[in-house]
């Protein structure tokens, strides 16, 4: 597998030229990069709303927004943009598109044209939803709960349609990946040799395909509710608003795993590569991935403990929710066991992986508080919930994304970023993140409700700590961005395999050629057969 170094002319970046060759490309790597660019723009937008929300909460009373309504709109856009436009497509669409076919040893995904279509469908949906910023803003929160979402006079209908359209993009990506994994594996790449990132994205794709259509019909019914008043979710017409929550969470709870499973996949690839050891419990992790995907579909009721759901259902959902801890625990255990007695290399991706383990474990454990009905009744709709899901989504998904970004960046750009600023940023993000969100656990336990522009004076100091933390977080992300841009412009050549990793994408030149490999790779062993060697192939000291 020690391949020739990158003495080659043509790669996917210079294979064809001009903006049109990018906009009409069918190359999965280019589509992945285009996703990356748009998602980062959306991330910036959602991040600005986040900083504004934190600014508003710096002191009781109104600081920034002219009215509480404006604040409601700000957190709605923060939530909707981050969930639907950033975190859900982040790893599957951006990293997955680049990496998945290469790890399979394939030339492309199964349906390249649909891949491009799915990209434009995403853009269309995101544009429609984001356009409402300039029309009149939405104030429902990202969950669109009926009946408020039926009555509010804002342009909710457009946002619903935008999310509906983005759903198609998500479905198409998932469908494409499933068929790709089934049909386009390189010779010798049997199921028990698949990298765990593939397993994770594959399970994610299955969730996308099974859950997203239910969101589609939910949003469609809500649009009809707003336009002609079909009444299924509208109590005024005899409908049941709690039913809306069942519909909504049947998608939106599995969506949490759409966000976090690929993150776990990234971590499963990074940790063995930087521990120079075979992954511990390969089969257990793969099975746990599917365990999580399955359990994801039977726990949605824990979002509804105080919605009027029956006590029996509360009991059942509470019990089922506890099950999530089992496969998750298996994974965390396996990752730590992989590092045990390994030759750890603390490069940036590994730093983020550590961050992920630390933060995600806190996120997971606090989830147990919310799964137990008795504590949840107290904690529902407080900042405890906000802190919990930020630990899972930001701490989990975003840190893993950054790990993946720094891990695969050299492969797809051919350049190496500057390690110093990258590490500095990882520390800033880790500290900033915990300073921002840990106080929110305390605030929530003390009873500070979420989704209000104002709060009681006794919560002031913790809120100020949280707001200051958000600035660190913002600066950290900016450093990552600048560092990456500088690396693209004048980074040193990275070499084909700077980390000495063993999955297939590292056998290709950096950046890879148009069709990924000059010769179709043949796989003869598993993806993590590290034999404790410290020596790294391919350059970059």
């Amino acid at each position: 597998m020690a391949h020739t170094s990158s003495a080659h002319g043509s790669n996917y970046l210079n294979h064809s030229h001009g903006i049109k060759s990018w906009l009409t490309t069918l190359d999965h790597k280019r589509i992945g990069l285009m996703y990356f660019v748009v998602i980062m723009m959306m991330f910036l937008l959602g991040g600005i709303f986040a900083l504004l929300v934190r600014w508003e909460l710096f002191a009781p009373g109104l600081q920034f927004f002219s009215s509480p309504d404006k604040y409601n709109q700000a957190f709605t856009y923060h939530g909707a943009i981050m969930v639907f436009m950033v975190v859900i497509p982040l790893i599957p669409a951006a990293i997955g598109n680049c990496v998945l076919p290469m790890q399979l040893g394939a030339k492309d995904v199964a349906f390249p044209r649909w891949n491009l279509i799915s990209y434009y469908v995403y853009i269309l949906g995101a544009t429609i939803a984001a356009a409402t910023l300039f029309i009149n803003q939405v104030d429902t929160g990202w969950t669109f709960y009926a009946p408020y979402s039926i009555r509010t006079g804002t342009s909710t209908t457009l946002v619903l349609l935008g999310a509906f359209i983005m759903g198609f993009s998500s479905i198409l990506t998932g469908l494409n990946f499933i068929v790709t994994v089934h049909k386009l594996r390189a010779p010798g790449l049997t199921w028990d040799r698949l990298p765990l990132f593939i397993w994770a994205v594959y399970a994610t794709s299955i969730i996308q395909v099974l859950a997203t259509p239910v969101l589609a019909i939910t949003l469609l019914l809500l649009v009809l509710e707003r336009t002609i008043g079909i009444g299924i979710f509208d109590p005024k017409l005899g409908g049941d608003p709690v039913l809306f929550q069942h519909f909504f969470w049947f998608y939106s709870h599995p969506a949490v795993y759409i966000m976090v499973l690929p993150a776990m996949g990234v971590i499963s690839d990074v940790i063995p590569a930087f521990s120079r050891k075979p992954i511990f419990g390969y089969k257990a992790i793969a099975a746990a991935t599917f365990g999580i995907a399955l359990v994801a579909f039977v726990v949605w009721g824990h979002h509804m403990f105080v919605s009027g759901q029956s006590e029996f259902a509360n009991f059942v959902f509470s019990f089922l929710t506890m099950l999530v801890a089992v496969p998750t625990g298996v994974k965390v255990f396996s990752w730590i066991a992989t590092m045990y007695k390994g030759s750890l290399r603390l490069d940036t991706p590994m730093l983020y992986a550590f961050g992920f383990l630390f933060v995600f474990t806190i996120g997971g454990l606090t989830g147990v508080f919310l799964a137990v009905v008795s504590t949840d009744v107290h904690l529902t709709a407080t900042y405890f919930v906000v802190a919990h899901f930020h630990y899972v989504m930001v701490g989990g998904t975003l840190l893993a994304f950054l790990a993946g970004l720094h891990y695969w960046f050299p492969k797809f750009s051919g350049k190496m970023y500057n390690e110093g600023p990258a590490r500095l940023a990882s520390w800033l993000i880790m500290i900033g993140f915990n300073v921002t969100f840990f106080p929110q656990f305390i605030l929530g336990a003390l009873g500070m409700p979420r989704r209000y522009a104002d709060y009681l004076p006794q919560f002031t100091s913790l809120n100020q700590v949280s707001t200051v933390g958000s600035w660190f977080l913002g600066v950290g992300f900016l450093i990552v961005l600048v560092n990456i841009i500088l690396a693209i412009r004048n980074g040193k050549p990275a070499g084909d395999n700077p980390w000495g990793a063993l999955t297939l994408e590292w056998q290709a030149p950096s950046p890879p050629p148009h069709e990924n490999f000059f010769h179709e790779p043949v796989v003869t062993e598993g993806p993590y057969e590290y034999r404790g060697e410290k020596a790294l192939m391919g350059g970059n000291a």
Partner: protein, 266 residues
């Protein structure tokens, strides 16, 4: 992967087979319509769904070729049915256990705010006092009532200072707005009065227990319920001071459907 070496010959559905399947589908359609004309009770639905599923399987296996296809595709398609079932079963796990209030015609029940589903009482006649009820009432009283009504029931609890009118002094024999009969106190407790919220969500027995305890605090009250009083309180001979078992959902939904701005009853 295991199927990859399967022959690359596509299976071609013969015309005669296609027509036979078509015939079966038409016959089954006639069966569905026919059965629907006969009243079999709940069986009608089962039969209709069974026939539809047989039809669906025929279409899947032959017209869509699953019978001759990779097993993979059968597994994929079956997944959808399984997850649809999960969706429905768990949602009904909520809907069907919310209680009778949800099932029956809500509009008839809510306006009264009174008795809803019948909830079997532990006692044959909970509106008649007994020691067990009084001691249960005392426990409830100390947790739910003392802050306003005070430990001795003199209407001077710590929270009473800010209230006007003052909370009822249970030790006084007169001035009870709704009367002192057990059933009358029961109604007050269920519906609330002035600043006192409604306690209709407590079970019937709990409310009766409170009623009987409160009555021990004041001078002996002679008034006893007649059949008429009980009926007024919605406590018929059959129903036993029923609790509004699941009414919070119903009430919530009903309140949601009230036109915005209309003041609620309390």
């Amino acid at each position: 992967m295991s199927d990859q070496h399967q022959n690359h010959q596509h299976h071609i559905l013969s015309n005669s087979m296609a027509f036979r399947i078509f015939g079966a589908l038409i016959v089954l359609t006639v069966v569905t319509v026919g059965v629907a004309q006969i009243d079999l009770g709940a069986l009608n639905f089962t039969v209709a769904m069974l026939v539809a599923s047989v039809k669906a399987s025929l279409v899947c296996m032959f017209f869509m070729g699953l019978k001759y296809d990779h097993k993979e595709n059968t597994v994929i398609f079956s997944t959808s049915v399984i997850f649809m079932a999960i969706f429905m079963i768990l949602t009904f796990g909520d809907l069907l256990t919310r209680g009778d209030v949800y099932v029956k015609d809500l509009s008839k029940i809510i306006p009264d705010g009174a008795v809803a589903a019948s909830n079997q009482s532990k006692y044959e006649k909970p509106w008649v006092s007994n020691d067990e009820l009084v001691s249960a009432g005392k426990t409830l009283y100390t947790s739910a009532c003392v802050t306003c009504h005070g430990a001795e029931g003199q209407g001077n609890g710590p929270a009473a200072a800010g209230l006007n009118p003052k909370p009822r002094n249970f030790t006084a024999g007169e001035g009870w707005k709704n009367g002192r009969k057990p059933s009358q106190i029961f109604v007050t407790l269920t519906k609330g009065l002035n600043a006192m919220p409604a306690f209709g969500t407590l079970s019937g027995d709990d409310r009766w227990a409170l009623v009987h305890y409160v009555r021990t605090l004041g001078p002996h009250a002679g008034e006893v319920d007649g059949a008429e009083d009980l009926a007024k309180a919605g406590v018929g001979a059959g129903g036993a001071g029923a609790a509004e078992k699941s009414i919070p959902v119903g009430v919530a939904i009903d309140l949601l459907s009230e036109p915005a701005g209309k003041p609620s009853e309390n």
